[in-house]
Symmetry: C2
Subunit: 80 residues, 2 copies
């Protein structure tokens, strides 16, 4: 199965990378862009036919490595 | 309007970050995860009511700043 994972900063957590992009966009002339938030997007293959098992594995991967759950939240989709 | 932008490495471009995650997952015991690809995910607000104009602006932002189109490809969705 293929997993598509989004890891984003929790609401309220400062996003300096987003702020930097915002300023860069502004200085490039995009004055009406704002509130930029940057996250990670990952795709990976899980060699597992059973959807429930694959899901529990992806969840564990996120919890232990892919996301820092103190400041980040994650969501994932599984497609076969 | 809100734009959700995915920037990913083009197929065939080496992804060292993905490889590092793959190895980390393996050493954590996730033996059946593979082919990890890492990209960026961005959300931003565009103060523009007209969908076509917003779309052309987001496209331009991707082309000039958000994606390196030599090695990366991007896609975006607009929601109001």
């Amino acid at each position: 199965m293929k997993a598509k994972i989004h890891v984003t900063l929790k609401q309220g957590i400062l996003d300096p990378q987003g702020k930097a992009i915002e300023h860069a966009l502004e200085s490039l002339g995009f004055k009406n862009a704002g509130n930029v938030r940057v996250g990670k997007y990952m795709e990976l293959d899980v060699q597992e036919q059973d959807r429930a098992k694959a899901e529990s594995q992806v969840k564990q991967m996120c919890e232990t490595l892919l996301a820092n759950t103190v400041i980040e939240e994650y969501r994932y989709e599984l497609t076969s």
